[in-house]
Amino acid sequence: MTPETYVPSHLLIAPLLIPIVAGALMLFYDDKLRKIKLGIGLAAIVALFFVSLELISRVKGDALGGGETIVATYLLGDWPVPIGIVLVVDRLSAMMVMLTTLIAAPALIYAAAGWQGKGQHFHTLFQLLLAGVIGAFLTGDLFNLFVFFEVMLAASYGLMLHGSGPERIKQGLHYIAINLAASLLFLIGAALAYGTTGTLNMADMSRVVPLLDPAQRMMFHAAAAFLGLAFLTKAAIWPLCFWLPSTYAAASPPAAASFAIMTKVGLYVLLRLATLLFGHDAGISAGFGGPVLILGGMATIAYGMFGVLGAQGVAIKGGYIALISSGTVLSAVGISLIGGGTEILSGALFYLIGSTVAISAYFLLAEPVGRGWEGKGEDDTQGPDPVAERWAPMMGTVEDETAPASDRTAPWSALGFSFALIAAILAGLPPFPGFIGKVAMLSGAFHDNTSASGAIPTILWVYAALLILSGFAVLVSLVRLGIRRFWASGKPPERMLALEIVPVFLILAMLVLQTVKAGPLLNYTHATALDLAAPAVYRNAVLSAPVVADSGGSH
């Protein structure tokens, strides 16, 4: 670790501060001034976008793919590493921060079409959700990970219930109960890990793992299993995924669209901890949990596949598609963890970007597509809400104002066009990112795992079959839905606002860009996968993070 590769800068904490400050600033305005809040929120996201762009360009070195790996650290309170709290940015976390902002912007624009006014403090909760998600990506120690997880979850409870209505409250109740139970498992896991390794810093823990004695190692594996349960609940692996489809379908569209990143937080943490703690240099612990990830991930794909074919609602299909995406990446992480090579991980990261953004767009589309069709419209639009009416005298000043920020309407054909494109992307048809990601995963997996005799492990064949079949299931399901909705019914929604379709076009533009720039992006994800396969780089960078006071404040 040479001094040049270290990038001390207050920029590293900016992605955390921007949403927190923006969220706090909004509280000074009355909730009726939603346009000001929207403006602050959008400005914060634009700022976040540029910060994450700068972070990516710093950690990736000079040229895309060609630069040297840089792991930037930020010591909070300037305490040396194993003692204090540290923020870490490497290729993976910088990429995830960028992905968060890419999902946040369309969801926020969509909220301006009226959803922001269906309850209190939508914008503040939204910014705090971003702060929690980004904090989880940047933190370098296990307990702060818990804290940021809770920030994210607390904000998501509020967003989940945004818009009220009995269905949302019921699903919100289940969602909160499950997440509280998962958080308690997280605490047990973190405490056990501390009890066995004597540290909470992830890099330090990864240094200690190979040195554990057998009795401690057993305890540490139990700790990892507890932590895994908590994150796998978040990442919605089968059989811990039953809450996801109905919860996401019940949430308001902008909330559901921003929730698309939350399953990916679970995936990110699993990827980070699995590679750091159970990478190839972890001694006897190497590869711990890999088979569970592979089999669980494949079961998740299968469950999502049947779910998407069987589910009736427009939005609930999106939940099952999110499960398929989650399962695909989880299996790839598992295969890579037990020594399946880095190519599959690189493809999985590429696939993760595209599918997360596309799922987010699907949730935005689901409500206009279902509106005014077979009576399956949103509960909120159908007359006064009995619950709100009963409570109105108690709440006094609460006023919902659902007027959109702009009255401009959009043509019905725009909806059909974008639905068809999103369906093609989710199903993984060429030339879209889902297809490129799957091809990269499969070709990488077969390339790295073909033995000298040309034999390929059976599990890879099963995985390949599941990947292709799940894409086919999504295609059949969405095409059937599209035909029934756009051709057979021919009944346009009562009114479709431009504000509801512009965010989807924004996402489509991102996905086209991802297709065009697939080469450089794959180089980036490949370099990321190589970094993850060499946890020593991350570990050394964090453990040798210089204290600013000692180095004469040279930044």
Partner: protein, 114 residues
Amino acid sequence: MELILSLAIGVLVGSGVWLILRPRTFQLIVGLCLLAYGVNLFIFAMGRLYIGAAPIMPKGGFVDPTTYADPLPQALVLTAIVISFATTALFLVVMIAARGATGTDHVDGKERDQ
């Protein structure tokens, strides 16, 4: 002490798990509280058990760290208590809302068919 503490954690967590598997929201929230207490005690236990050892060292001079309790689990427990209090309070609000919206305290929003 080890036996009493582990029994206490076991009883709290066991009762908590049983209660969160019940179909009534009141039982659910009491179960979550008991689980949280059990988990907090467990975090304490992970700092090893001490009797009469202070967690904070006095100012100045060399002190023998072995005579002090591990302060980190105490900090963790403090954070965990604050967070679980806040989330439990929020859960209570949602619970009351669910009771108001559905007219029943069943977690599925409707009584099972008789």
